[in-house]
């Protein structure tokens, strides 16, 4: 799966969590722009993990602040899960 396909799938998954209909770019941040709280993060991460059959550990989550970083991380993880 290429990065564009990963992006397309995550964009679809994020829709129900994007309550305010924020326009999503690579620079969109989860904490500030999307106002995700810790529970939303858990549910959203679980959806992505199930979709791509990967684990995004809390250690990795701590490094991800914006949408572009998430797509990069998932793209890398589904190529090389370890």
């Amino acid at each position: 799966m290429d990065r564009a396909e990963v992006d397309r799938r995550i964009r679809k998954l994020i829709e129900p969590f994007n309550k305010k209909g924020v326009t999503i770019t690579d620079e969109t941040t989860f904490a500030n722009d999307l106002e995700f709280d810790s529970l939303t993060v858990m549910d959203f991460v679980a959806e992505i993990e199930d979709e791509f059959d990967i684990i995004i550990s809390m250690n990795q989550q701590a490094e991800i602040e914006n949408y572009g970083q998430l797509v990069d991380a998932v793209y890398k993880l589904q190529v090389d899960p370890s």
Binding site: S38, A46, D53
Partner: protein, 411 residues
């Protein structure tokens, strides 16, 4: 510039405390309504395990972790006095240097007997037990799979170690198994669960969860802080009640709840467990518990093993309070009583604080719990029962709840 005067910093430095501004504002807003501060209560006198004088009023205590009422047990008090006289006020040293007295060995033996396990290691607090064991056994390249609602001491233990941290949805067996399946082959896995989750007082489905963890080759740690002494035939906790004691690798517990003093511990049958005393930093680099504390804990644990009548009475109290509050129209954290904790869900922090104050003025102390300690950003009035609450005290508690609930407009 004069050499003997401190140089004024020209650059506008950041006040390191500015990160606390939101919580300072929240607190000011709450206290601005003229309410008694829920987080600065002083107990001027403690009359018994269930009664104290708080802010000048005699109050029924329904927000302590004194589940088995051992704090004033005459045998426990006597053991503490004797140890204080014989061994002094403190050890002034680490367990691995000059801080292991006969009393520390005795309380570890009492734990081995209580749990019927080979090894017991006593820490200075329950927090340190989780911090130490979790951070030490799960290292770089290992995975910790844990319930998202785990206690702060579990998260802090995770953060202090170098393992990959993988949380799953609270009490969700399927979510836990999905994550276990995705862990790379050969990686070490520690599954961390709690017997009773202290915010809502709900119990983990340990029978199923421990089986799933074992199927995927994980070691299992269960924190039984809120179940020890009360749940299970011998008071060993939810793992005993679920019949999975043999499959649990580590049980973490505390002396600051049913045991009635302070301290923490881990019990295990792992053949190499004793090495933890040398490699676990929160065990090694701190002073050991005072002799009076380990003596009271030891006596209390021995008595808890035989306390089946008290356990039965505590269950009666829990059922009556849960049923009574439900009948009054309060929203509770669990459908049925699952532990000695009954959480009453409040609509918001303001109403919760008002209700807390109305209860206190009516002569009842409960815990006000608010985010981030609570799941789903809930405000809770957390009631924890004691085996020493009498039947009539529970009725009195329900009456105070009814009056407070009506005056605040919650029921």
């Amino acid at each position: 510039m004069q050499a003997d005067q401190p140089e004024t910093r020209e650059a506008a430095g950041t006040d390191l405390f500015s990160k606390f501004d939101p919580i300072i504002q929240m607190r000011e807003k709450l206290l601005g309504t003229g309410i008694e501060d829920p987080f600065s209560l002083v107990m001027e006198r403690v009359l018994s395990p269930t009664r104290a004088v708080c802010n000048g009023r005699e109050t029924i205590l329904l927000g302590t972790y004194n589940y088995m009422g051992m704090t004033f047990d005459p045998d426990v008090i006597e053991a503490g006095k004797q140890a204080l006289a014989d061994f002094g006020a403190g050890t002034t040293g680490s367990r691995v240097l000059n801080g292991t007295y006969q009393g520390h060995k005795d309380v570890e033996q009492a734990l081995c007997d209580f749990y019927d396990m080979d090894h017991a290691m006593v820490f200075s607090t329950g927090y340190q037990a989780n911090l130490g064991i979790i951070s030490t056994i799960a290292g770089k390249g290992d995975y910790i799979v844990l319930d998202i609602d785990s206690h702060a001491s579990i998260y802090d233990g995770c953060k202090m170690g170098d393992a990959e941290i993988v949380p799953f949805k609270h009490n969700d067996i399927e979510a836990m198994e999905k994550r276990l399946k995705r862990i790379p082959d050969g990686a070490g896995i520690l599954v961390v669960l709690e017997g009773v989750y202290s915010m809502l007082g709900d119990v983990a489905p340990l029978k199923e969860m421990v089986a799933v963890a074992k199927k995927h080759g994980a070691m299992v740690l269960v924190d039984e802080a809120h179940s020890m002494g009360f749940i299970g035939e011998n008071g060993r906790g939810v793992a005993e009640q679920a019949g999975v004691m043999d499959d649990v690798d580590f049980i973490i517990g505390t002396f600051s709840k049913s045991v009635g003093t302070v301290g923490g511990f881990c019990v295990s049958n792992h053949p190499k467990f004793e090495i933890m005393r040398l490699v676990c930093r929160p065990y090694t680099f701190t002073a050991s518990l005072p002799p009076s504390v380990v003596a009271t804990a030891c006596t209390s644990i021995r008595k808890l093993g035989q306390a089946s009548n008290k356990r039965a009475h505590l269950w009666e109290n829990s059922k009556r309070l849960h049923g009574g509050l439900k009948d009054l129209g309060f929203t509770l954290g669990t459908e049925t009583p699952e532990s000695a904790i009954i959480a009453v869900i409040m609509p918001d922090l303001e109403k919760g604080a008002a209700m807390w104050e109305a209860l206190l003025k009516g002569g009842l102390y409960v815990n006000l719990a608010r985010p981030p300690a609570t799941p789903a950003n809930m405000t809770l009035l957390r009631c924890s029962l004691c085996a020493e609450h009498s039947e009539s005290e529970v009725e009195e508690i329900l009456e105070i709840f009814e009056n407070a609930g009506k005056s605040v407009g919650i029921i």
